[in-house]
Assembly symmetry: C2
Homo-oligomer: 251 residues x 2
């Protein structure tokens, strides 16, 4: 019956919520038809592992809904998150047969998948796909480099503020339909546990907890429960993050 539900989620590309942001964004109608033929949906429950690093990976795909993480682990168990996958983000690398990272669903997750071989064939014949994938990869590279600054040079407080501002911004662009802007204030739910945040930021979960409490005490953020965040003043948060407060996204 999970399959039953998964059928109900299957849909025409035309109705797809990530139609204009995913790897297929640039495709024409006829190209979409071809993609439609080789695509299939997969669903994962919160906490489930999509794939383990090193495992054979014979598909690629896009996150349709939900959130997943990309993490690396050292032998002694230290882990570092290296990517946060939101709807429209791409998973997998054409031309590589084994997964490079652990991919874990942090919420219930729906992915639109393609077997690797047919997808690579399509890439070869459909420049629109390769073009879009290049663009997305360049964006990810920029994000990764931004994150290198966070990891290498920012204090714990700045790291938390950076993460919050990134989530807030991504969230805001992702669904402007939500009335989650109460006169300038940004409101959202943290999609990550304290531990996941720590893995993202290269901190311990205790430090994450402490710094969130501190930001709350200082009025930089408001907390309802453990996950529901309100940011009364985005510029203030960006200052705390050590970023230029002018909202400049082009680093």
């Amino acid at each position: 019956m999970l399959n039953e539900r998964s059928l109900s989620v299957t849909q025409e590309c035309g109705d797809c919520p990530i139609r204009h942001r995913a790897v297929c964004a640039r495709c024409e109608a006829d190209e979409l038809v071809k993609l439609d033929e080789i695509k299939y949906y997969r669903r994962f429950e919160a906490g489930q592992t999509v794939i383990w690093s090193g495992d054979r990976m014979d598909f690629v795909g896009s996150v349709v809904s939900g959130i997943a993480t990309l993490t690396q682990t050292m032998e002694d168990g230290r882990t570092q998150m290296v990517g946060l996958l939101l709807p429209s983000d791409f998973v997998g690398r054409p031309g590589r047969s084994a997964a490079a990272y652990d991919v874990v669903a942090t919420t219930d997750l729906v992915m639109c998948c393609f077997r690797k071989a047919p997808f690579e064939d399509m890439m070869a014949t459909t420049p629109h796909i390769a073009q879009r994938l290049l663009e997305m990869t360049l964006d990810e590279l920029d994000a990764a480099r931004e994150w290198m600054l966070v990891l290498g040079r920012k204090t714990a407080r700045e790291k938390i503020a950076s993460l919050l501002s990134i989530i807030a911004r991504r969230d805001a662009t992702l669904h402007l339909q939500h009335a989650d802007r109460t006169e300038g204030a940004l409101v959202f739910d943290l999609p990550l546990t304290r531990e996941a945040m720590a893995d993202y930021l290269g901190l311990t979960l205790e430090t994450v907890s402490r710094q969130i409490s501190a930001l709350k005490k200082d009025g930089v953020i408001l907390l309802e429960g453990k996950r529901h965040v309100t940011i009364p003043d985005m510029a203030r948060l960006m200052e705390e993050a050590g970023d230029d407060a002018d909202g400049g996204v082009f680093a």
Copy 2:
């Protein structure tokens, strides 16, 4: 007369040392001819800034020889290196008009450049270029993610060992002609100052200095002068880096 020398360095693509690794690697003879027409060489001296973050950037290009760094700087002066550009690496992002990072030549540098507009035209008509650029970008993304683990989770000693092993490996693949393998031992010159290493690793230069001394004292590396490094046992170094010693490059 710097121009004189720069002419002497200008060459046919066929003779180019990075012909098979750069963005043009996949190009056919006729495609190379077209690239040849729009390319031009630029030389920079050690220490010179190629471009400042935020500056208008109307070219893209490849490093032909020498080494450059990509760095990000916060308002208060903290800096983080986010890329180390070796021969064949690509600089600039098609579709973006301003530089995202500071690019600085750390040694004398020769770049093979293309004005952005003609290059983008060629990308649109020459799939081989876009294909190769995608591949290179995916490789850089992997490298960036590897580095996120280093920055976020490794100790100072592990960071130094990681950097040394990366340089050693890159160096080894770059010029196998050099007889710089004395029966299993790797030998190379550090292309970076202690300060640049610190910027790469998210450390202070003092810590870099101390950890290098420590690795030397423990026999993990041998030092002649301040820059000339010998690695008697690569597996040992990889252990110190916290990596699996099996030389596994596919993370």
